[in-house]
Every structure is written in C-alpha cells, then in structure tokens.
C-alpha cells in the first residue's frame, strides 16, 4: 500500500471518539526546500542558502558524526550502559542546519533530543550520555557553550528562551547593527509541546515584548504514540499568525533549507523584528526513547517512506553528483566517526559516579542548617558501611 506524505490519508482507523475529519497537515507548496531527497538543488523565492561548498561538507560531517553518536548511545542503552536514550535519528538536518545558523553569542534552550544541536555548540557528547546513564542531570557548561540544560518537562524551556531573550533586549543587544553584538535565542520543542500551555504562553510573551527569539519546532510527526494531527487541526507553523508573528514550514530533512530559514529568522530576531516560528517538518526514525515500541502505533511503510527522504543521504548525493567531495572525504569521515564512537564508549564506561553526599551541596547557594545536618548525618551513616566493608575484607570473611 502506498503511503503519502499527508496524515490525512494515513491508513490507521481513527480511534473511538476521535473527530474523523482531519485537515491536511502537509502542503508541499508551503514547504521550503532547497535540496531534494535526490540531492538536487532547488530555488525558493524567499530563501537561499548563503553558505559555501565547504559549509555543506561541514554540515555533512556534523550530521554524520551526530548520527554516529546517537547510534552508539542507542547501542550502549541496549547493552545496559545507559538507563534510557532519546534518539535523534532522522532529525540531523533540522538540528545541524539550525545549530550552524547560530552565532557564538546566541543562546539555545533545547529539549532532551537536541544531540545534533549540542554537537554544533561544542558540547561534549559524553556529557549527554552521562545524563542518560544516570550519572548526573546534565552538566555541560550551559553558560559557556550557550546551550542550556536539557528540558524534560515538555515545553517549559520555551518560556526560558523567551525570558532570556527579554534579558538580551534589556542588555541593549538587539538591533545595534553590529553583528558581533546583536544576539538572539532559539527555543527548541516538538510537535507535542505545541499543545502545552507554556509554549503558547511563550508565544504570547515573545510577541507582546517583541523578544529576539526563534521558536524552532521539530515536527517529527509523533509525540510518543500520538500523531501530530492529534495536537493540531492546522499546520503547526500557521499557529504563529494567531500570535502575531511569522511562521514558516521548512523541509526538516533538508539541511540547506533549514540553515537558510533559521539564518533569516535569527537575523530578524537580532535586528529587533521579533519572534518567528519555524516548523521543521521531519520524522522521528527511531522510537520516542529506548523504552518505547513504535510498532504498536505506526506502520512500517511510513518509516520506509521517510527513509527515502534521509537528510544525510541527500547531501551525499549532492556532494557526489557535483564532484564537491571525493571518496577520501567520505572514507575519512567514516573513520573519524568510528574513532569518535570508540572513544565515546570508552569514556562513557569510565564515567565517575558522584556520591550522594556531595549532592547536598548543589541545592542552595547558601546551604540551610537543616540540610547541612542531613548531609553530615548521611555522610557519617554511609561511612559506617565503608568501615564494615573494610573490616570484612581485613578478616578475609565472606558476607
């Protein structure tokens, strides 16, 4: 059976109680695309990719290496080395294209799936794995990398992005005309998050204050098991007009188009023209997380259909067809990816674990006497176990 792009003719029967008439959520005419799935360049009346061939090769490398990090993390989870992993497979173009549109001074508020964006911000992938291994809650330097903590509560970070942008305005770093100073924020979220009050409130505040923020929605079609049409009866990017700012839908698997659209939106924000909603139309090729089983709610045909739109394959086709990269480039990258994965795995297995006692130090800037007493009592209690273990070892006795 054929599977079209539109969920309007998805073959699953609607669940009981579901309103049957669903408006088409896909409209190719409105999708900004600069590179087809076959690797052919397209022009668009409003957007052009301004980068060089070297940039395209760089995007290819970013996407390939991010995918390798993601695959290694999934494997580590399957082997019991991570508690869980949220795969970004299939979303590399949306993440790398937008991430590479950022300037150093811009700030990112991610969800928990923005591994490709993290890569573009120079965040060590090991820090991402540490969080999913249960070693910490995410300890890359958010302020130094300008890549905020992963947000697990859906949509909460859209407000943080807006507030941070309001701070930038107050710092006088919007519309100065100096590209080294003008600053913007990107708030990432998914299709499911657009139903959250926080995301809608963020739209309202950003619009009201004309904040320099870009809302970057990766519509990967699925919020765990719920299709995007459960979240919206109109295309998500059209929501923006109701809030009073522009919305644009871009082919989220086209790194050139994502880069062009995000660059334009960021420029608009930095120059003082306010927020933009970008809907990057993409697909979550993997499960929601390693705890999920997508075969229970979506068809294999759909996956196959999106496999043909792969974000990395189309760039390779483009580079090869145009003679923009030779075989050595591709084999060199494969080797680099393997080395990256090997090191990442080794580093992950060697991650030191924190002690519970030290966690008491992170709660307050000025620790309370009560917490201090709990910390001291726990430390003392824990020490008795170490003593016991040492004592047992000393006698050679078994427990």
């Amino acid at each position: 059976m054929l599977v079209s792009d539109g969920p309007d003719d998805r073959t699953q029967p609607p669940a009981t109680g579901v309103a049957p008439a669903v408006l088409p959520v896909r409209d190719d005419a409105e999708l900004v695309q600069l590179l087809t799935p076959e690797g052919e360049r397209r022009t668009h009346p409003d957007y052009a990719f301004a980068g060089s061939d070297e940039d395209v090769r760089g995007f290819y490398r970013d996407m390939l290496l991010s995918r390798r990090v993601d695959a290694e993390a999934t494997a580590l989870q399957r082997q019991g080395e991570l508690g869980i992993w949220a795969s970004s497979l299939g979303q590399e173009a949306a993440q790398v294209g937008s991430g590479r549109a950022l300037l150093t001074q811009d700030f990112v508020f991610p969800t928990y799936r923005e591994h490709g964006v993290a890569w573009t911000r120079g965040v060590d992938p090991l820090r991402l794995l540490a969080m999913f291994r249960g070693v910490d809650h995410g300890t890359w330097d958010a302020l130094e990398t300008r890549f905020g903590p992963y947000a697990i509560i859906i949509g909460a970070q859209a407000l943080h992005a807006t507030g941070y942008a309001m701070g930038i305005e107050r710092d006088g770093l919007v519309g100065t005309g100096d590209p080294a100073r003008d600053t913007a924020v990107v708030g990432y979220f998914g299709d499911g998050a657009t139903s959250q009050g926080d995301v809608n409130e963020a739209f309202i505040f950003a619009s009201s204050y004309n904040a320099p923020v870009v809302f970057f929605c990766q519509n990967n079609q699925w919020a765990i098991s719920e299709p995007s049409e459960r979240q919206s009866r109109i295309p998500l990017y059209k929501r923006a007009s109701g809030f009073g700012f522009p919305g644009v839908r871009v082919d989220g698997n086209d790194v050139l188009a994502v880069h062009a659209v995000t660059t334009a939106a960021l420029e608009r924000a930095r120059s003082g023209n306010g927020p933009t909603l970008i809907e990057a139309y993409t697909y979550r090729m993997g499960a929601h997380t390693t705890s999920d089983d997508p075969s229970k709610y979506r068809l294999a045909d759909e996956l196959e259909h999106w496999r043909l739109k792969d974000p990395i394959a189309r760039v390779r086709a483009y580079l090869e067809a145009g003679g923009l990269a030779d075989e050595a480039f591709f084999t060199g990258l494969e080797a680099e990816a393997d080395a990256l994965a090997t090191k990442l795995r080794a580093d992950c297995l060697a991650l030191p674990e924190p002690t519970l006692a030290e966690t008491f130090d992170w709660v307050y800037a000025e620790q309370t006497p009560y917490l201090q007493a709990q910390q001291a009592a726990y430390t003392e209690y824990a020490a008795t176990f170490e003593d016991e273990a040492t004592a047992l070892e000393g006698t050679g006795g078994a427990r």
Binding site: F109, D136, H137, G138, T139, D141, A142, L143, G148, P149, I153, A156, A158, L159, H160, A161, T162, G163, Y164, A165, M166, G167, I168, E169, R170, D171, V185, G197, D198, E201, A202, I204, F205, S208, T359, D361, W362, V363, Y364, A365, E366, T368, P369, Y370, L371
Partner: protein, 324 residues
Amino acid sequence: MTRLTMAKALNAGLRRALEADPKVVLAGEDIGKLGGVFRVTEGLQKDFGEDRVIDSPLAESAIVGTAVGMAMRGYRPVCEIQFDGFVYPAFDQIVSQVAKLRYRTRGAVAMPMVIRIPYGGGIGAVEHHSESPEAYFAHTPGLKVVTCSNPVDAYWMMQQAIASDDPVIFLEPKRRYHEKGEVDESATPVPLHQAAVVRPGRDVTVLAYGPMVKTCLDAATAAADEGRDLEVIDLRSLSPLDMAVVAESAQRTGRVVVVHEAPLNLGLGAELAARVTEQCFYSLEAPVLRVGGFDTPYPPSKIEDGYLPDLDRVLDMVDRSLAY
C-alpha cells in the same frame, strides 16, 4: 524613622533594591501603572521604567518561566503573583525549574529570584483569594520560603530576599498590608532566615508567622490578664526553619502551640511538631499542639471568621496544652 504601612514598607524595600542593583527587575500583572492590586509597586514603573517594572500578560506560568530565562541572563527577577490562589498555574515552573536548576547543573546555573505572593484570608474575598500555600513550597527542596508579619520586616526582608542567590518565595499577609509600624531605614536588619521572639514569656511557646503573629500577640495580651505568660515567636522563615530559636524556647517552656491559617494536615505545624519532639523530647510537658485552618477548602467569606484561627481558638489550645 518613618511610619509606614506594610504595603508602603514593601514598596520602599522594592525601591531600594531597584536602586541598589540595575539587574533587579519586577514583573507581574497590573504592577505598572496601577501599582498592583494592593498598590505594593505603586510609582515604581514611573521611576524605573517599563523595562524594569514589567506589566505582564495574564499568565502566571509565563511570569515565572520567563523570569527563569532572565535569571539565566544575569537578572534578578522579582515576580508578583496577584493572589495566592493564582500561583498554581506557575507551580510547575516553580517546583520543576526554579527550585531545581541549581541542583540540575551542580551549582553552575543560579536562580536568584523572588516570587511575591499576597496570601491568607480575612479580607472578605471570593474563592481563590484567601489561601495559604506555604507548605507546598516549604516542602520543595531548592526553594526558600519567608513571610513578614510587620512593616519593619517587610522592608528589610524584601531587600534581603532579592539579594539572596537562592530563589525565595516571599509570602505577604494581605490582611496586614495596611497596618502601620515605625521603620528605621538605617537600622541593622535581622538575618533573613532567623526567627524572632516577639514577646518573651515563661509558660507556653506560641509559634506563628505572617498574619497570625498579631493574632497570637493579642492572645498573649489576653492570657496575661489571666496570669498566663505566653512566649510568641515569629518564625519569619518557613524554609529553612530557625530551629535554634524554637528549640531554646520549647526547652524553657516545655509547651508549644503552633498557629497558622493553612489546613493542619501536613502543614508547617506538623513539621514543627516533629522537629520540636525530636529536639526537645525530654523537656516537653505536653504534646505539640496545633491551631490552624480546617482541612476543607477555604470557606465563603461570610463564614471565614470561624475558619481562621482567632484569639479564642489560640487561648483554647493554650489551655489544653497547660492541662497536660
């Protein structure tokens, strides 16, 4: 010395904080031209501008959520929640973000933020305007919770809370907004998280905070006529609790009554009873007793006087304590 209402004292405290640190910003509903529904921010937008005294759209989660982002950018936001019962839409941002960001990042991301909440009953209001939500916040690691009972504390504690590098829930007893006191702007303030013995006594320790401090002082005056000498402690800080002051008093009197407007079940009184029992067990002559709101939703205003602890209910519980 200036004679100020609590509302004016809070206003003066906010003004001094705005003057002292350009990174202090105020945000909330109607806090600009109107000066807030209780006029606590009156005149501040006129003097400090719309960028620093921000009239927010009507969305509490966003008021707090955008303050998180501003704090990450280096600002010290002071959010106003218009009424106690309106804080719940912001609960997720407060509990999941404000309270946890420092911990999440092992101390790298600070959350210097004050969330002001006018709270408590006794003003004849409609539903959702008379609640005492302190236990939710005191229960949450990462937050600090304070409340003032008089204009002097209002003035100083507001500035101290804003200067704190930890997020502070600042509860303002709205029925005391218009009570006056002498504020000495050049005095040395009591530390923010220290309790105060506001009336020394020998027979029973009465622990109170916010709107109940005056009620308990009135009860102590009445009790004195009957030869009972109550010690009244204004806790001021609900998280952390100043157990040094509380335990010293409890060990001396051997009897403790806790008074708050909030429902009793798992309220501050329950925590205080547990902590006093742990620390003062051999000094106690009676179990720690509690006077509070009942475990019902807040009642319609025509009958709120029966719900709120008053002088008679405090004295009744003091009698019960002394009967042991």
